[in-house]
Amino acid sequence: MTSKPAKISVQGVTKTFALGRDTFTALDDVSIDIADNEFVTVVGPSGCGKSTLMNILAGLETPTAGRALVDGAPVSGPGPERGVIFQQYALFPWLTVRQNVEFGLRTTGVPKGERRSRAEHFIELVGLERFADALPKTLSGGMRQRCAIARAYAVDPSILLMDEPFGALDALTRVKLQEQLLRTWSQDKRTVLFITHDVDEAVFLANRVIVMAARPGRVYDVIEVDPAIERNEEFRLSSEFAALRNRVWHSVYHQEGRTAAPSAAHASTS
């Protein structure tokens, strides 16, 4: 993949926030290249700046130093070529599933007929066709996130930025959604940057796992996962997966002598 031009290129990005009298360095000289249609997961302890990194790529925040490029052009605000999926779903509660999915199509001026059919297609892709006219309040967390995924897909972004999208879901739902996400992704490939704090999730989904360290937020380790492996239950239970998982786990929780104790309740300990 190194020969291909980078789809996303983060070059020496530093982001500091004023924190009272101090400055807090959320990202310190972070550089990452992501190839077209690559599925990259970012995992790290809290405070490692992984969400800040995503916000910068989404165009919701600007770096203090360095630059973020998408298709070779610097990011200067949100754009429809970058779809974002938030942990809190961020569905519009007054709109039905269908209207939510059509939201981005309306803002980008897609004519009504096409809007309909495209929304229909992506609602089907995430398996919500029976709930197309339901309001978000009647949906479970997993269904809401599927709706958010359909909404992001509908505007046809070449990049999906996902910020702990399954973080609020129970373990079982999470596994199901991971598999469904990969199914959706393999049918309709995009470049994905997937932020998570779950080591299993990071390993299962990724072509490449980027491990970040905190204070200051930086890239700590990069672990490649063979894209040829079929992501299924067999893989999840394989020794290969366990080995990768151990490596990532070690990287996340035993960073340079200082142990970020895995007491963090959110770490998957299955």
């Binding site: 989404a58 754009g79 779809g83 974002v84 938030f86 519009f92």
Partner: protein, 290 residues
């Protein structure tokens, strides 16, 4: 801020969810929700309604008993009879119409001005900085305290009455609208932005619907304030109106008429509140109620 206690102003019994799109029992594989929210609210129509009726009947009974025991109260039949005469000669209808007109004009103007100003304050920091001190200051003054000033500045015709009602409704509604805009979830705005929405679209399609519940609560509170200000406003040289009628009856020790006035104000206020409640349910049925 008690004005913004949305839950207090919410209907106690949520509208039963539409059945068409309900996932309940659909066997959705990832339905992680623990328990359906329905069921808790069922049976509202039966027993509670009965309890309401019993309570009202009991209240009237106590009133009657007190009147019979020699307290200075008219008995219910006296009040009903007086209501009959006031209805028959058209006085009640004229008074109610006069009062309603004042309240509706004042409330309508108050809301119409409050909503855009509330939006301005919530959306633009500059507008907020300029307007907020005035709102906060006037909020501490009971609208009734403005009456002397209003009379001197505006004379004794309809204008000062409507102005005071306007002020009451405006202040209640503007704060609530402002709070609604400020409270719009940032992620929701970000979500709209990453879906390609520009400021105008975000405003119209995210901020406005997201703050509608707040606005409606503000309107209900505003209507309450407007109605509460009415009687006092009608002390300003009014020729008709429920407040005027009661004030007039006071001179003649005419308790039944005062009661008819009080009850009419109560009933009309309740009716208007129900209308707004209905609108609220229709417009904000998408909300999750806890």
């Amino acid at each position: 801020m008690s004005v913004l206690d949305k839950r207090g102003a919410r209907p106690r019994h949520p509208v039963p969810a539409k059945t068409s799109g309900e996932p309940a029992g659909s066997g959705s594989p990832d339905d992680g929700r623990t328990a359906p929210e329905r069921g808790r609210s069922s049976g509202r129509s039966g027993l509670p309604l009965l309890l309401n009726a019993a309570s009202v009947a009991l209240g009237i009974g106590i009133w009657w008993a007190l009147a019979a025991a020699g307290f200075k109260l008219p008995t219910p039949p006296e009040v009903v009879e007086r209501a009959g005469t006031l209805i028959a000669d058209g006085t009640l209808a004229d008074d109610a119409l006069a009062s309603l007109t004042r309240v509706l004009i004042g409330f309508g103007l108050g809301t119409a001005v409050a909503v855009p100003i509330g939006f301005l304050m919530g959306w633009y920091g500059i507008a907020r900085g300029l307007i907020e001190p005035w709102i906060q200051f006037f909020r501490t003054i009971p609208p009734l305290a403005i009456i002397p000033l209003a009379v001197v500045a505006m004379g004794i015709d309809e204008t000062p009455k409507i102005f005071v009602i306007f002020l009451a409704a405006f202040l209640a509604c503007v704060i609530s609208t402002f709070q609604g805009v400020v409270d719009v979830d940032r992620t929701m705005i970000n979500a709209a932005r990453v879906l390609g929405a520009k400021d105008a679209t975000i405003f119209a399609r995210v901020v406005v619907p997201a703050s509608t519940p707040f606005i409606l609560v503000g309107m209900r509170v505003g209507l309450g304030s407007a109605w509460a200000t009415l009687v006092a406003a009608e002390l300003i040289a009014a020729q008709e109106g429920l407040g005027y009628r009661m004030q007039n009856a006071q001179l003649y020790y005419d308790l039944p008429t005062i009661f008819v006035g009080l009850i009419s104000i109560g009933i009309l206020g309740l009716l208007m509140d129900r209308v707004l409640l209905l609108a609220e349910r229709k417009l904000t049925g998408w909300q999750e109620r806890r």
